[in-house]
Symmetry: C2
Subunit: 381 residues, 2 copies
Amino acid sequence: MKKKWLFTPGPTPIPPEALLAMAQPIDYHRSEDTVALIKDVLEKLKHVFQTENDVLFLTSSGTGAMEGAVANLLSREDKVIVVRSGKFGERWGEICTAFGVEIIPIDVKWGNAVDPEAVETLLDEHRDVKAVYATLCETSTGVLHDIEALARLTRVRPTLLVVDAVSGLGADDLQMDNWGVDVVVSCAQKGLMTPPGLAVVALNGRAWDAVSHSDLPKYYFDFRKAYETGLEGSVPYTPAVTLLTALQCALTRICEEGIRSTIARHSRLAEATRSAVKALGFTLFAVSPANTVTSIQLPEEIDGKAFLKLMLDKYGITYAGGQSQLSGKIVRIAHLGWIDESDVIVAISAFERGLIEIGCDIPLGAGVTAAQEVFRAVRVG
Amino acid sequence: MKKKWLFTPGPTPIPPEALLAMAQPIDYHRSEDTVALIKDVLEKLKHVFQTENDVLFLTSSGTGAMEGAVANLLSREDKVIVVRSGKFGERWGEICTAFGVEIIPIDVKWGNAVDPEAVETLLDEHRDVKAVYATLCETSTGVLHDIEALARLTRVRPTLLVVDAVSGLGADDLQMDNWGVDVVVSCAQKGLMTPPGLAVVALNGRAWDAVSHSDLPKYYFDFRKAYETGLEGSVPYTPAVTLLTALQCALTRICEEGIRSTIARHSRLAEATRSAVKALGFTLFAVSPANTVTSIQLPEEIDGKAFLKLMLDKYGITYAGGQSQLSGKIVRIAHLGWIDESDVIVAISAFERGLIEIGCDIPLGAGVTAAQEVFRAVRVG
């Protein structure tokens, strides 16, 4: 008998009442109940986005919402700055290029966060830049970007700040209204504790103004259609009703906990994980680590892929490995969504046993102890 | 105590084992189990599509796959013929227009099917037409189009035939390979008995050749990426894992029944419904009715919307009403997916009682009797 433990930065574990909601007979997407469901979900999302702006949703992965945030905001002749510090920053660039938009990339070494001053310099050099495309938590490296600092630059300029908060929303702080972020995109299967298949987007007034001038082709991801129908609890196309019922359950949990407390919980779990990793003698890969996922640099003698396979086969534990150029070189332990302190202890203790099994000389128990210390200190504090 | 009965042409009822599969803890989308799941789903879909071509899937509604079938096949200067005989034929035209493709529409009176000769005339007039966009079952009217006849025209020309089989797949016959249909798009929540959120597409060699020449912008709906990763049981972006597990359950049922038998069942259910409607003195709205849904013309004195509301409030029955110009004027009773003879009896008997309640002079029991006669004749035959 072996349990399955999921510590990946999406999909994240689903709360039991959300799982059971999906086992109910499906409802018609134009029923009164579904209208009420959609309105409730969109209202609760505003709390998570920390915004008074209306939120819209799409039936797609987060990447669909990212495409929408290009196709709906930009026009053919536009130029944009793209922060590339990992796989998902690169994705912003790929989407812009696919849609014929000129990009000015800022390439940041993987593991580092972008320097806001570098963005400021580029903004001053290219005053006709329409938008800056950035990432809250770069999931591929575990780096948290200083979105508040970027917003300080864009909100005083006629330049939009568009943030991929796919893995960060609900775990890392993102105060859309207070900071003046123009567009935030995210999706269900990360901090929102819902199975994949739904994306969520919020735009402020400046962003909607850009939407009204955009001439890039869009149909399925047309934000205006999604927004206008959403206000009525409706949709332009059949939505993933089942996933919406799960999302409603998950959002109810977040709203009851309160978004500030949800973020504080993630902060605590992340701190404990980092503390454990360091106590075991490992190095964090991310210079400014996010609350969603902890990336651990592996010593060269460890084959990261073999380690992950061992952890799954022997302990039922799924961590994430490195992507693209980091394949086999880092391990990523997510502490995201429906995760509590005890889950983190499980993740760390198994990490210790697995490392010893592959011949690593680490002090057994030191990681768990360090994590416990963090949890105790928080309780005492 | 009142049950909910869903007779809408999507979402359709979900088999119980598919509902329960979704209540299981979610799996990582890069796990070995998910790889096997995706491969199995794509293999089983070939049986449903009646094709040897590989099938790909997308995390979106069916409209996403329709957009993909425009953005992946066409280029900026292309001209296409669009068959418009209802809301979904119009959607083909809207998508093409959104992507800057010139359309030559064939407008067919709602309720009628396109005359293949009219398409042939247009094809002869416009020899540079890149593709014909058509619909198997036009869900908004319940009309079945003669796709086999259209394929006879396109397969001998350098013109692709792209078919929206969103509601028709698995209910109305569509022999992709035998007939020579180039592209078929569909989705989960219709004949495939799965909650909405997944779309499926098959392309033949001619279509893939067009894909390699297409220059329209696409990213999320890039067919080649979905196809190439799908062959490995993988995906370019996090897929709706939960919905895939449900789809696997539903496809297992269809494969066990056999697609020819599945279609024959739908044909029997549709015939019984039509026979019942006629026995009650009503007129079918569709000249060539599909197996998926029966559209019933309402006499002017009946307020269709009020009737649907009564049926839901009093009997727990959801039929679909008319869309766009047909709003309030027709009732659509679907017999699609996870539906058997007894369900059809429920749909018809409630229809009778509801009609009498709103003051219609119909022969109570005549519809149910007519349906029973059809079922008995099939059994005896």
